[in-house]
Symmetry: D2
């Protein structure tokens, strides 16, 4: 009972990587919102493989079919359900992993948790494939937010030790769009090319690399959120750690704030054009769980794709003997490329949920 998040807008994910279909049910989207399908499909294409030579060779056509909640392309107030049929699954690639689990994959814990009944072909419900469902929900949320001049954007802030520039203090929707149009979603293309080299090198070594994604929300009104356990950070955190491979999260200056002094990290107030703003944004737009009107900024850390072709040490769960494994199949040497859109999707859905409390 876990594949759901959200309070005013509940997003429930279902499906397994090699099952009949994956999908999402979204309950709580207000009625009367027109959803542009082309915009949604473009957004989803940013996550889908096939866009870049750097991604998996799997060919997934991520075209959602809407079963409910939309009438003539306009939300009708009832739960939205959309599904994507699975195809192009090579289930044979996954045979045997229930006995010799892949390191850092869910095979082992799933065998314990589900008594061997989990359908773990393609990692089952744990698969990154499920993030396509998140992009349906998030793509819809992004469109609704944009009509209220709230924009969500993200870029790859690092791959291994190659770091992109950071977002400026006030990112713009134009910048977001520009980044989104790139094969490698960075601000500084030179860094993007270095990232490409790092990824290609890892791929050539049958290895993979991790990275980070920086995300920002601009235009979000001040005074939304709550103290303690239902604040913006809590709700974003709950949802973002649901993206497979996410192992870290920070808001504003985050971990680096821990290395500074109060006089450096505190965000001084000033009046600008009659509006109260802060000169810096080390709090990432959130104080005490509540928005202060500055851009909301966060950074998410992704571990390297656990699926690598290199030989790895594992155990045989039946004989309890040590053994080795080599993972075939078609995997991303770096999931961060495709995760940028997923981070945007999750953040957008949480912000839209929070906005209902205004």
């Amino acid at each position: 009972m876990s594949s759901e998040y959200g309070k005013n807008i509940k997003i429930s994910i279902f499906g397994e990587s090699h099952g009949k279909a994956i999908g999402v049910s979204i309950d709580g989207i207000p009625a009367g919102e027109e959803i542009d399908m082309d915009t949604l499909l473009s957004f989803m294409a940013r996550r889908a493989p096939g866009r870049s030579k750097l991604a998996t060779k799997r060919c997934e056509s991520d075209t959602p079919v809407f079963l409910s909640g939309l009438t003539n392309g306009i939300t009708n107030g009832f739960p939205i359900c959309a599904i994507i049929e699975n195809s192009n699954a090579h289930s044979s690639d996954y045979a045997g992993f229930e006995i010799t689990p892949r390191p850092s994959h869910a095979d082992y814990v799933a065998s314990l948790r589900y008594n061997g009944f989990a359908d773990m072909r393609g990692s089952g419900h744990f698969s990154g494939r499920l993030t396509a469902s998140l992009c349906i929900a998030g793509g819809i949320a992004k469109q609704i937010l944009a009509k209220q001049n709230i924009f969500v954007g993200a870029h790859i802030s690092s791959i291994c030790n190659v770091k992109d520039s950071s977002f400026p203090l006030y990112p713009t929707s134009e910048l977001f769009n520009e980044i989104a149009s790139k094969e490698i979603a960075v601000i500084d293309d030179e860094k993007g090319e270095k990232m490409r080299a790092v990824i290609e090198q890892a791929a050539s070594e049958c290895d993979s690399v991790g990275g980070t994604v920086e995300c920002a929300v601009v235009g979000f009104p001040a005074s939304i959120g709550s103290p303690m356990f239902d604040g913006i950070e809590n709700r974003l955190a709950l949802a973002l750690f649901g993206i497979p491979a996410v192992k870290g999260l920070e808001f504003g200056s985050g971990f680096s704030a821990s290395e500074t002094k109060g006089s450096q990290n505190n965000d001084a107030f000033e009046v600008q054009n009659g509006k109260v703003v802060t000169k810096t944004n080390n709090n990432g737009g959130i104080i005490g769980g509540i928005s202060n009107g500055m851009p909301i900024t966060l950074r998410v850390a992704f571990k390297p794709t656990p699926s690598i072709a290199k030989k790895q040490e594992t155990v045989n769960l039946e004989t309890l003997e040590n053994t080795t494994i080599s993972i075939g199949g078609r995997h991303d040497p770096c999931i961060v490329l495709r995760a940028v859109a997923v981070v945007e999707a999750v953040v957008a859905s949480v912000m839209l949920d929070l906005l209902q409390e205004r």
Copy 2:
């Protein structure tokens, strides 16, 4: 509606820093658990000020009074309510902050969110004082977990740029106890003294410093948790971002995983004494939201205490003019010292909650 977390065990926090009392209601603790009051008070003393010269000069006697849920010191199955009366509050120290908000404090967002009605003396419900309530709940949880040989421990992993050693692959409860007994909760005392110097230096400059806390849970059984949004990471994240000043969170190798290759970061399996373990623990004991039987490890980043005596830039919310502010009162130059117990408390309460799903 936000001062609550937990699913099977619900923990609701109430109170303001300068109100009549703070407290906690804990619903869902199983009946029949004996709670040792001395152990609870010792635990709470680790958070309370007055223990170290490095902490605030405020004198808070954090002695909880139990109103319900305990009969003869044993949980009776009904909600536990415990309160701590406030005293020693110098409310005059806080006059004026509703007009000239303190940078990086909740004054400004609270004025917007609560239309000026929030009782922000001592930061009101946003105050670090509220974490005493968390320690009541967490101290109880720690005792119940310990009876099942599940131990939760933490240490200061860094203050500013001074870093303590990390926990070993398998921390022990003895190590946890040893650290807990120290004035500065570190593994390596030499680093502890360097931290002391950094804090004293900051205090002498009317400034403050941030830091990080590493926490580990040992003995937690494998196969607990769920994929996607109700996993161990999601639930810990939701709760931990409720601790004031927390701006970052990572599990296992966390952000540094993003700088590695899959072949480095993957946790190879091996059989040890007939048990499946991993040779490393970069996943922090959690895969796909589910425990794998290895210690659960995480690190939390705290920003520097925003209350500093140094002059700071702010605005007058009535005249909308820029101005400056100097914060008096008695503040911690580094809240991390006292936050170690709070992190343990929150983690213990979440783990006990998860354990009910076994």
Copy 3:
């Protein structure tokens, strides 16, 4: 954000009467449960129209397609999603109701609540058609409960003023099966024929009739549930009032208890075969929200089908003038006939949810 219920097992309903499909997502069913499709289809057939001449002439083929959560007919631990495609919808039958709302239907409130964007053809998401989704979830729950010797059964306890016999103190699964096999699900067939006459008479007058359903759960273990707001009654009530047209609910002797004395209504204890039981079951197996080991019994009141062909008074929402309306289309003169299975479905799903807390 409302089409969901359940705590350990979450059941989310989606779809509109005349949309592409209706369906359900069920999150939290344990792995390893074999679901017999024939049994499920037989159960669903009890709700579907076409079984009795007394029901609507609409022909709905209620055959669910499972998209996820089942592997080779066995639950795999992941969310189950099942859909039923809509067909045989005569949308033209519903034209105009957004302007001249049908009395006691959701047309008027929906026009306000969804600003005119709700797809109210066939009553949209408010339609009784949606209960087919509930029967998927409930049919699965019934099968899992039955393997643990917990049985859920129901009968029509009244139609208008014709009352069936009540369940005996200890109903059996054989009795449940016998009732379920009848065209009119009653204990006393003579009463069933009187009900038939009442329904036919109402139909011939272009009118409809209401009725009540009694439901019982046998074999449910004692000591499950909780006091106050999360007890068995609270959770059943929340879910049962989600069935369209339900306007009343009572447990055990219910409303008639209010007409008795304590000495009459109290359930005296006695020991029977070494087991503590009660001589009567006026509490319906639930005390203080907790099961006492006796059969759980409840009764649900359904209002008469609001769709009647008789001319009715309504208003024109555009001109704000009084007018009249005659509802065409193919409606049930008495939904209670088909609601018996729906009550069983909802009760079974809640009991299975509660059972996870054992």
Copy 4:
């Protein structure tokens, strides 16, 4: 984990009948609401014993102490916690019930559910005493609603077989106030005196009687609520079945609707002073879970007080032998008298919660 209800406004109840204190935490009340203490105390006095010779001889001084959430009598936006200290408890009256459980009381299920650790003196957390906490929350809710011209009132609609008149189609706040001022809260005083006679007769026979309470909400705006499982009926039902001894609930014409035809029960629309209303209110102001602007009406059934002095059959749980019991102590021969305010309290709190979704 059960002593809580509410979605936007969470109400958590704690305390045992003979513990140190009972109380309530209320999270989510908007800031800036002035609470009149005299009005609150008058409301609570309607529930407290001592007001009528017909009630228990226990003397409870139900004066809440507010620990948080109020500053100078105005809500400050943070959780409100209020407690009432227990006194005048005669615990010896309850000795032995853990061995020979009282019929229709929670003694037996509590012994199973809490493994003998529950503090069941005075029925512990199951006690009607806990409803004083509900009246704190509900009394506050009533005041906030009244400022928005939403009024909640109730009366005893029956005691045993003596029935009061029903509320008119449009009850007024004046009528509510008039009823509230009476010793026996009825519309028709003649019926009130007959009820008095029935109660006195039962008391003289060492017996008790049940009854029903009718409650209405006037002024509640149309279009609030949601279909299926989060509608007004679902949320009221979840909360109302939390009141001890409630065994039935109906909205509008409720169970009697099940005996009518659609042409009788349907609420015809008409325009009155430019406003859409219904000529009758058999739906109790709620259609499809959503308010239609008519008064919201419901009726709650209370079983007779299970505590009676008459000798009753029970069992000895240690020897598993049949035995008898006579319950001493000071009990209400009819809890319905004092339950009227509790029903109002619970209904008011749910309506205020719903109103936040506007």
